[in-house]
Amino acid sequence: MTGDTQTTEAAPAKRAGSMGVARNLGLVVALVILCGVGLITAGDRFASTNNIITVLSLASAIGVVAIGMTFVITGGGIDLSVGAIVALASVWASTTGTQAMAESVGWIVIVTTAIGVGIACGVINGLLIAYGKIVPFIATLAMLASARGLAEIIADRKTQIIRDQGFRDALGARPFGVPVIVYIFAIVVIVGWFLLNRTTFGRRTFAVGGNPEAARLAGIKVQRHTVYLYALLGATCGLAAVMLMSRTQTGSSTHGLMWELDAIAAVVIGGTLLSGGRGTVIGTLLGVLIFTTLTNVFTLNNLSTSVQAVAKGVIIVVAVLLQQRLANRSST
């Protein structure tokens, strides 16, 4: 009990990244152990360049969403509609209409459509929460239902194949043998880290999430900032839809099922407080990598899905416990 309160009370003072390494130590250890298990049980197959690229590619789309989610949760919110927004963005950007326009104007139309749809959904979420005073759970739950419903209507529940060669070539390229989407993920992580830790926008996010009333009194436009946060997450959802469309070459209303929980889980085991006011982009990155590596190691060892599910639960708990212990030690 005392250990718990210490962590959470000590944190706000140091939240802005100075203790980042120490706080993430537990996650790094967990990831290293996981890789060790992979190396021992699957050896060369695990350590091969191809496998590492596969893990990074699989982490990319969900990772971009999780980075966006880090901002919203740090700002004291939550968004359950991310998976549905990914689905809607992918469907909207792969309709025959959009693809025909992409044919004449260029593949960038597909990308801008997806990100535009994402931002629009995010802005609606933000407006409902900030100005409509609907709690984030409910507002984004409503978005979850209606965005996926709309995606189903637009796609007529069919899988839409992306035929635009320009799009496939541009996003399917592999400079230096690494897929473009992995570079996108890396850029999002770097920009996200910078935005959260080194800009006014980031400081405002911490302030709004930590104590909205104090933030308001300090002159921050809390409502407007909240809209920005959800719009940002919407944009990352649109980007994730683009990445998913590149990997699967389809848009579908079934894309991103249950991503809200995967993203929230990655953010939370990363060390971002669900109650807001504290957040870490690097922790989220590690959280996403731990989950993706876990599935990979299990598949390499040909373990059943039920065993995977059990182990996933255990590892979430172990990672969080480990992280609390190590963070405690370094903060006392």
């Binding site: 009990m1 718990d4 309160t5 959470t8 009370e9 699957a42 197959r45 091969s48 191809n50 496998n51 596969t54 590619s57 699989l58 939550i78 359950l80 759970f137 739950l141 979850l144 239902a145 209606s146 996926r148 419903g149 189903e152 209507i153 007529d156 529940r157 069919k158 899988t159 194949i161 399917g172 897929p179 998913l244 990997r247 699967t248 070459q249 389809t250 579908s252 079934t254 894309h255 991103g256 099922l257 809200e260 929980l261 929230i264 407080l273 669900l274 109650s275 599935t295 990979n296 598949t299 390499l300 060892n301 040909n302 059943s304 899905t305 039920s306």
Partner: protein, 349 residues
């Protein structure tokens, strides 16, 4: 004190997750079935084709939330329209068991002549189906079986175990005695009995020729999950000879993963029989060389059987005077050689 907030949040999150899945189910109810599936309805020939007494048939099925289910409903409707003497009462497709029960109750109150029912959950619909039977209305159970034999006059269903067997036999045939062949399997949602049946059939057929599944992963019937599962599987097995994917909807993602990984050393077999996959088999330009069928015409056949039963006719090709109690459809393997034969009954995914 400061620790209670995140804990409460987590609890609330769990609650919302449950609510979210409910809402998701609810929102899939509103849409209509698709209308551009292949037209396979026909009125048959001989005495049975001639119009008899006009009969009213009630039809209820789950929401058309994937290609196969959409094809089931639209094929049933087309089949009913092809008959002059059938009046179809088509209930809106739903994944809400309560709503589906009330749909059947309405059919009973309206005293329809027969009910064709593809339950969202066979066990949950058993009671109301039994009540319909007790009210003298024959129930034709499609695809997902009831718990009790008293709940249906006739059951028509696909063969999940048989799908596995057909895929396994095809692998055995292709391997031609080579017992070192590496066989991989991408299943659908692992907790479903239908997935377990498919995998069991596959394993049993492979065992017959001394093969076994060396790598198995499970996806979730969606394109994205298929891509994810296949990407990992391809890393787990650097060399594969045969790959069976249970479901053609998720198969789109599986093929994308195979293309991303630049792999082409194996033969892939699909499952369910979507039109996309059949066109691909016909074109013969990917690793996909075959698929096994899980017929999407079951609903249409349910309508045909309901009409015969309601009119007191028999299946004219059988010597027996009554329509059989149970009809299990075959799960044939489709390859380049016989794809023409099955193309018309394939569903668009």
């Amino acid at each position: 004190m400061s620790t209670t907030t995140p804990r409460r949040r987590l609890l609330a999150l769990a609650g919302v997750a449950a609510a979210a899945s409910l809402a998701l189910t609810a929102c899939t109810n509103s849409s209509d079935g698709d209308d551009d599936t292949a037209n396979v309805s026909n009125t048959g020939s001989g005495d049975n084709a001639e119009a008899g007494d006009t009969v009213t048939i009630g039809f209820s099925a789950p929401a058309a939330d994937h290609g196969w289910m959409g094809a089931i409903s639209s094929a049933a409707v087309e089949q009913a329209e092809a008959f002059e003497d059938v009046e179809l009462v088509n209930a809106e497709g739903t994944n809400d068991v309560n709503l589906q029960i009330s749909q059947v109750e309405t059919f009973i109150n309206d005293k329809v002549d027969a009910i064709v029912l593809l339950p969202f959950d066979g066990a949950a619909m058993t009671d109301v189906a039994t009540r319909a039977m007790e009210a003298g209305i024959p129930v034709i159970n499609v695809d997902r079986e009831f718990d009790s034999p008293f709940a249906a006059r006739t059951t028509i269903l696909g063969d999940n175990y048989g799908m596995g067997v057909s895929a396994g036999r095809y692998v055995c045939e292709q391997a031609d005695g080579n017992t070192d062949a590496v066989v991989a399997e991408i299943a659908g949602i692992d907790s479903l009995p239908l997935t377990q049946d498919r995998s069991q059939g596959f394993a049993d057929a492979l065992e017959d020729c001394g093969l076994k599944v060396s790598n198995r992963v499970a996806a979730e019937f969606t394109v994205e999950s298929g891509e994810r599962a296949a990407a990992n599987l391809l890393q787990a097995a650097p060399k594969i000879d045969y790959l069976w994917n249970h479901d053609d909807d998720q198969g789109v993602g599986v093929l994308a993963a195979i293309e991303n990984a630049g792999r082409d050393e194996f033969v892939m077999i699909g499952g369910a029989g979507s039109a996309n996959v059949m066109r691909s088999i016909e074109a013969d330009d990917t690793v996909l060389k075959a698929t096994v069928i899980y017929p999407s015409t079951q609903g249409a056949d349910g309508i045909k059987l309901a009409r015969l039963i309601a009119q007191g006719k028999s299946m004219s090709d059988l010597a027996e005077v009554e329509v059989p109690r149970k009809i299990q459809l075959a799960a044939p393997i489709v390859t380049k050689d016989n794809v023409d034969q099955y193309m018309d009954s394939a569903f668009e995914s």
